[in-house]
Amino acid sequence: MYRTNVLCCAGTGCTASDSALIYDNFNEALKKYGLENEVKVIKTGCFGLCQKGPIVAVYPDKVFYNHVKPSDVERIVSEHLYKGRVVTELELTDEDLITKEKIYDIDKIKFYEKQQRIALRNCGKINPEDIEEYIAVDGYQALGKALTEMTPQDVIDVMKASGLRGRGGAGFPTGVKWQFEKDQPGDEKYVICNADEGDPGAFMDRSILEGDPNAIIEGMAIMAYAVGAHHGYIYIRAEYPIAVQRLRIAINQAKSLGLLGKNIFGSGFDFDLELRLGAGAFVCGEETALISSIEGKRGMPNPKPPFPAVSGVWGKPTSINNVETIANVAQIILKGAEWYAGIGTEKSKGTKVFALGGKIKNTGLVEVPMGTTLREIIYEIGGGCPNNKEFKAVQTGGPSGGCLTEKELDTPIDYDNLIAAGSMMGSGGMIVLDEDNCMVDVARFYMEFIVDESCGKCTPCRVGTKRLLEMLTKITEGEGTLELLDEMEQLCYEIRDTALCGLGQTAPNPILSTLSHFRDEYIAHIVDKRCPAGVCKSLLTYSIDPDKCKKCSMCARGCPADAISGVPGKEAYKIDTSKCIKCGACMSACRFGAVVRK
């Protein structure tokens, strides 16, 4: 029996800053101090507060250490675990994150206070590589309940009543989707978990898979029982190695315990699960393209209908749900539809996970009830923009979504409100932009992504998005005209109306939404040949204010293009604009603010 548990975050973010070594060092140091039988070190999934990683939490003391380095480990062991003295320098102390002056209690961290964690309930709490820990926190109880006490139709009725909608972005009611498949004739049916998370800046699904893989296995088994399937696929990108490995471990453990396989819980229900690795094509997140990819064909979409519920993988009825959707299933079965329907707004029930990134203090993963406002997420949980910069917009929904501005910050988030505000829920990526972001450049970034990821099957997407990118590039280089802007907008509508799949139809959204909120920035690029945020290089010039210049030569020494001349101590420095490559090195080198960018 262990007296203390030390939880090391082993999510992708913390792993990237050496948390695997921290884990090893803990085990070594505990041995050195003879504590290996008293203190257990456990790898967990993402805590969500990635900004503060690597994170180590100590229970039952509830001490939360942040920014832990491998070299700090011995101190934590010798001081805290051996002598009982908390290492206060490593404790989370940011004023905007904690409620009391000194906290010894994880539950009092502000970052978590506004959150309600259902899909993420076990992330950062249990060891994802140990199915017994999942079972200890009520794991597989819901599957047992469904198989022994409920008919498939009961399960579907509960899902319908819960109001759960697809978390991949489109928001289709999950229970209704399942009903379609169940009502199809035939006994060969399939279920698929769509883990092909591809939006730039989104990592909700990855974190769930890494932190609680068994929740996905259980959710899929319940889904299979409801629709009458006996075989499932998890389609996951190979770029998620930690998630893939933990899923493999979880599937093997579930098989060895008989929680997957034949005659589960003696109910006569058989279910088997396979992983299918994708090569990371964005379009494979589109369900018909995903099905093609599973069948070993090139990942390209097909027209709908027929919908996958009628003719999916191998031409058989198939339900496809996103990771986060499936992560909610077991909890809904266990706690009931009423409980779930009691959370959220009238038309969007439950919670939503968002990956908070960009110009935000507390980068990380948050789960909030539907109906929470953007302001609460960005300011109260996220802590606002760093360095006192002014908030400009938040991009939601990835390359298919759009931007929302200050005006929309008090909109309660749900599927319908975000669409009404000109963006979309999407899978949950939320990228905050501040005054230093150029909106034309943001649109160009997403268009570049789409051009790279277009599968090429239909002309509007293959050719149209390429043309859009060319037009945007012209504008950012100062060669745009107002006629070009009108043409570009026209082309956006044409692509939206004619492309084959969701990827193409929504591809113009980043342009349309930035045009509607920030047309003045486009005009500034076109008419004034100026980038207001100072991002688009072709429109910038650097110069040195001779009155502020202290003739110290720091700028000239930092210039990689030898474009700055002057005499130290005697003559103010000057930039030769014909040589200047606009890298900004002089601006960061100058300590007197003498370098001016226009």
């Binding site: 029996m1 007296r3 203390t4 008293e38 003391d61 003295r85 017994e132 200890a136």
Partner: protein, 124 residues
């Protein structure tokens, strides 16, 4: 695993491993584990507390702290209730520790003779 009963059994067994990370307990038992405490024998006390709590499922968490400042009375065990009231037990040994759990945590009775007040009045 063939039935819900098996799942339940496995859950019971696994629960002890994760429960210290869950929720609130009625009592918090804190052991002074600075150099003075360890030298006076706090480690076996702590281990006994952990074992007994695991075995008998007392409604408390066991944690440790540094030097409480009364080194002469070590090993010291403090019991904090939900309302913040606390009792300080001094010169605790493993058997006394087990008794404290049984009486104080289990039945809500403070063992007066083990407390710091009793030790001080004896000296006076």
């Amino acid at each position: 695993m063939k039935s819900l009963e098996d799942l339940k059994k496995m859950r019971e067994a696994a629960l002890k491993r994760v429960e210290m990370r869950e929720g609130e307990k009625d009592y918090r038992v804190v052991v002074g584990m600075a150099t003075c405490g360890i030298a006076a024998g706090a480690r076996p006390v702590l281990n006994r507390l952990v074992e007994e709590t695991a075995e008998k499922s007392y409604n408390c968490t066991i944690t440790q702290t540094g030097c409480i400042g009364m080194c002469v009375y070590e090993p010291i065990v403090e019991v904090y209730g939900k309302d913040g009231e606390h009792t300080t037990y001094v010169h605790v040994n493993p058997d006394k520790a087990a008794k404290i759990l049984e009486e104080h945590i289990g039945k809500g009775h403070i063992i007066e003779e083990f407390t710091v007040n009793a030790a001080q009045s004896k000296e006076a």
